[in-house]
């Protein structure tokens, strides 16, 4: 979008112009983000979080800002395949990263990710505000379990077994506990995650 396709008038694709008193513009750098398969060259104020870069600069508003402090998980996206709270990462630190947002999981009826379909089938949301984060987090959690990463819910014998961890309901609840849902869709979210891992 820094190539001129940003629909908004240019404050330098996010860089702040000097203040009226001639105050220096805040430090900014060029950053390349590969988001949902497309590379974007951005010039970003160093204070811009990955979440605000996605939402404000690339207009990918699927990732949500529920707290901006790493407390809710609504901003969860995948960075190089790992789930991250994008509100806690400064975008400049993600130069070169491969980012997947909910829009990148599947964006049209025909190409929905199996988890997106499971969320629909299970009615695993109400207001939908936590949903993009739940979905990205679940994709990450499933990959972590497949890679053999244990959780607090993992039994002692599984700890010595380097193989994949089976995602029981307990495992899903534990691994998804960083993603709050005030609508209380938790039981259906757990069902939906297990539908795609069963």
């Amino acid at each position: 979008m820094a190539d001129g396709s940003d629909p908004r008038p240019d404050p330098g694709a996010g860089a702040v112009p000097p203040g009226p008193g001639g105050a220096a513009a805040p430090p900014a750098s060029r950053v390349t983000l590969k988001v949902n398969g497309t590379e974007h060259d951005l010039r970003l104020d160093h204070r811009v979080t990955l979440l605000d870069a996605l939402r404000g600069h690339l207009l990918l508003t699927g990732a949500k800002k529920g707290c901006d402090h790493g407390q809710c998980g609504a901003c969860t996206v995948l960075a190089d395949g790992r789930r991250v709270n994008s509100c806690l990462l400064l975008a400049v630190t993600q130069d070169g990263a491969d980012i997947t947002t909910v829009e990148g999981l599947g964006s049209t009826a025909g190409d929905l990710h199996p988890l997106q379909r499971a969320f629909l089938e299970r009615d695993a949301f109400q207001c939908g505000f936590c949903t993009p984060g739940q979905l990205c987090s679940a994709v990450g959690a499933i990959a972590e379990a497949a890679a053999g990463h244990p959780s607090h819910a993992t039994g002692a014998d599984a700890l010595t077994d380097p193989g994949p961890v089976t995602l029981t309901a307990e495992e899903v609840r534990e691994r998804m506990s960083g993603n709050l849902c005030r609508c209380g869709a938790y039981p259906r979210i757990v069902d939906a995650v297990r539908d795609v891992t069963a």
């Binding site: 908004r8 404050p11 702040v16 000097p18 203040g19 008193g21 105050a23 220096a24 513009a25 805040p26 104020d45 204070r47 811009v48 605000d52 404000g56 207009l59 699927g62 990732a63 949500k64 800002k65 529920g66 707290c67 901006d68 402090h69 407390q71 809710c72 609504a74 947002t101 909910v102 829009e103 999981l105 599947g106 964006s107 049209t108 009826a109 997106q116 629909l120 009615d123 949301f125 109400q126 207001c127 939908g128 505000f129 936590c130 979905l135 899903v172 609840r173 534990e174 998804m176 960083g178 993603n179 709050l180 849902c181 005030r182 609508c183 209380g184 039981p187 259906r188 979210i189 757990v190």
Partner: protein
């Protein structure tokens, strides 16, 4: 052929948009040239702003303006004084907004807000809530228009004469709604056309439009408010909140579109909270369990800005057959943020107290708690004497007990260091209904389009209204589209008090019935523009019913208490509800279960406290205010019984958004008592309290 769509399991109409991130919430709108605003909150518990030095903030790059009580535009009148932001130098409580920074980017706006230097003249403050506060008074009314005080017979004499008595005090701490979407608004002021457009995170765009029109001196037809997708509300977005006023102020002041998304930590001080309640409940009974006396005395707090009285003694007027009763509220105005609605205001804390006391009475009598409730089933509403339009509490209790396996779980167990027990509580929530309007169009291509300014805050309103419409039109569901969430649509009531589906559905039903009648009189194809019909339920839904109308329910909980860590966990939670006709079992179950999850939070983890020195809520963010997470929530069962009630609305439905929270905390607290033999009378049941009571 008749298409059966009402009562069938239909997925959410907007589901695909929500799972792909395409659904736009208020803060997701980025109009060309959009600026960002960041509010500055007062840092004294009470006092006056003596000066605001914005020089450093304005010198920062990208900063457009700093609004203060001294330079902010003057506002017109509002019913709600919390909307009169930046109008004078007074600071009624900590967290009250005293300035607003507007800048090109969110980063610059935040930096500017923290660079604003506000000087105060601090005044003495009092935030210390207690039942014997000398300032406590009996208000005229509690929330919902309920009389603050009701008395029947001579409850004191009846208590004195009772064979068995309980006299207990319960406490519920302040609670925060914390919808996952913090309040946000994007405002566009079209100077040339004189038109204001606002995307607001609200439970009702109609009331937002009315308030903004008055505050900014505009005719209502020059204001458009859109609340298409809303990330939860649970009451705290029920009426306009200060953020939307500030966003519009900033847009008019700078001539730029402005987005304001409240920082999470600001919410507790500016969007309302569930006020703390202290309860004294006294029950008198004969030895067979028949209640002879009930008193429920509630003390709560409000702010000095606006009186709001949590109507927690009201459920005692509905629940049980008691000849002699007193249900009463007292309130003390303190230098605290203004409380407001939070899911089942009144019923949630009130039924926690009443249903805990019923459990204590069952213990004292040695009567099964399900049986005790059944024995006190009233023939008519105890307070008004009006007949119930329908009441199936006993059926809920019986079916719940069956499904839960209640009879086989009445012996507390110990598994190592863990104590296990079960508890039950009843629930009730009134049927509220408001007049609304709707319009239905038959399109030339054979499809139908229904318009109603309902708000879908996650309830599934779009979906169920399409079902109501398809049913009334006698057409398949996929022939109907529904538009909601925009003030350009026929006006309708807000999404609150579990009144949405009944109120909007009634108007949609009537509009579709009128359209069907118009079409029945016609032959041949529709005109090119199609046919339309409108409905206004002012005359029907607005009428007072001769019936007492309430939903009822029963909650059953199975809990585990770790005697080493003090942790209480819910192993099973089951609810059975009698809430009229269930119009969509999928979205209904999500609402019941979701509210029960919030009840788990109320029981086990959620509490806030007002810092006596600083005057603010100590637990203001999601790291300190603990809403339930996945790991706290077991599989939850919600069931309902078939209830046919002709005295409600054309669909036969009662509201279902709130009753799920009502009995949950008491059922869990009662299960704790069953497991441990000890009772905790303050929520939540946190490890510190648990270890204390077990010691």
């Amino acid at each position: 052929m008749r298409h059966v769509v009402l009562g069938t399991a239909v997925g959410r109409a907007e589901g695909p948009e929500k799972v792909t991130g395409a659904a736009r919430y208020a803060g997701d709108h980025a109009p060309a040239g959009c600026a960002h605003a960041w509010p500055v909150a007062a840092t004294v518990p009470r006092g006056r702003v003596t000066a605001v030095d914005a020089a450093a903030a304005l010198a920062l790059p990208g900063v457009l303006a700093v609004l203060t009580p001294h330079n902010a535009p003057r506002l017109g009148p509002s019913d709600d004084p919390t909307l009169q932001v930046l109008q004078d130098a007074g600071v009624p409580h900590r967290g009250w907004y005293v300035a607003l920074a507007v800048a090109e980017t969110p980063e610059a706006a935040r930096a500017a807000a923290s660079a604003v230097v506000v000087t105060y003249e601090a005044a003495g403050h009092d935030v210390g809530f207690r039942a014997d506060h000398p300032g406590a008074y009996t208000p005229e009314e509690a929330n919902g228009g309920h009389p603050a005080h009701r008395e029947h017979g001579d409850p004191d004499a009846a208590l004195a004469a009772a064979a068995v008595r309980v006299d207990c005090s319960y406490a519920v701490a302040p609670l925060h709604n914390h919808p996952m979407e913090p309040h946000a608004a994007t405002a566009l002021w079209d100077e040339a056309g004189g038109h204001l457009t606002v995307y607001d995170s609200s439970q009702g765009s109609g009331p937002v439009r009315a308030a903004l029109a008055s505050l900014f001196g505009l005719p209502e037809d020059r204001v458009t408010v859109v609340s298409e997708h809303v990330g939860g509300g649970f009451g705290c977005k029920g009426t306009p909140r200060p953020h939307v006023v500030l966003a519009v102020m900033a847009a008019r002041h700078t001539g730029r579109p402005v987005t304001l998304a409240l920082p999470r930590r600001h919410l507790p001080a500016v969007v309302g909270h569930r006020a703390p309640t202290l309860h004294r409940v006294r029950l008198g009974a004969r030895s067979d369990g028949t209640l002879t006396a009930l008193t429920h005395e509630v003390t709560t707090h409000t702010s000095r800005v606006r009186e709001f009285v949590e109507q927690a003694a009201v459920p005692g007027r509905v629940m049980y057959a008691v000849p002699d009763s007193r249900t009463t509220h007292r309130v003390v105005a303190l230098d605290v943020p203004t409380p407001s609605w939070m899911r089942a205001p009144g019923e949630a804390p009130g039924m926690y107290a009443l249903e805990s006391a019923m459990d204590e009475l069952a213990d004292a009598l040695g009567i099964d708690p399900v049986e005790l409730r059944v024995r006190n089933e009233p023939a008519t509403e105890p307070d008004s004497g009006r007949p119930f339009s329908s009441r199936h509490l006993v059926e809920c209790l019986r079916e719940g007990a069956d499904r839960f396996g209640w009879a086989s779980l009445r012996t507390p167990r110990r598994e190592g260091t863990v104590l296990c027990g079960t508890g039950v509580a009843a629930a009730t929530y009134p049927v509220l209904i408001s007049p609304s309007t709707a319009r239905a169009h038959a399109l030339a291509d054979g499809r139908f389009h229904v318009e109603v300014n309902a708000t879908d805050i996650g309830t599934g309103a779009r979906t169920v209204l399409a079902q109501v419409a398809a049913d009334a039109l006698g057409v398949p569901l996929d022939a109907v589209t529904v538009a909601v969430g925009h003030t350009g649509l026929p006006s309708a009531s807000l999404a609150g008090g579990s009144s949405g589906t009944g109120s909007w559905g009634w108007a949609v039903h009537d509009a579709c019935a009128a359209l069907t009648a118009r079409m029945a009189g016609r032959h041949g194809p529709l005109p090119g523009g199609g046919l339309s019909a409108s409905a206004d339920t002012a005359g029907s839904a607005g009428q007072k019913s001769p019936y007492s109308r309430h939903a009822f329910g029963a909650h059953f909980a199975d809990v585990r208490v770790d005697t080493v860590t003090g942790e209480v966990r819910v192993a099973r939670l089951l609810g059975v509800f009698a809430a009229g006709r269930i119009l969509n079992p999928v979205t209904a179950r999500s609402q019941f279960v979701g509210a029960m999850v919030m009840g788990v939070g109320m029981a086990l983890t959620e509490h806030s406290s007002v810092d006596p020195v600083h005057g603010d809520f100590a637990e203001s963010d999601l790291a300190s205010y603990h809403v339930p997470v996945h790991a706290d929530v077991p599989d939850i069962e919600a069931h309902w019984i078939d209830e046919h009630d002709k005295h409600l609305n054309p669909m036969g439905s009662k509201g279902i958004g709130e009753i799920g929270i009502v009995g949950t905390a008491a059922a869990i607290g009662n299960a704790f008592r069953h497991a441990t033999g000890r009772r905790l009378r303050s929520l939540p049941l946190t490890p510190d309290r648990v270890l204390d009571v077990l010691a």
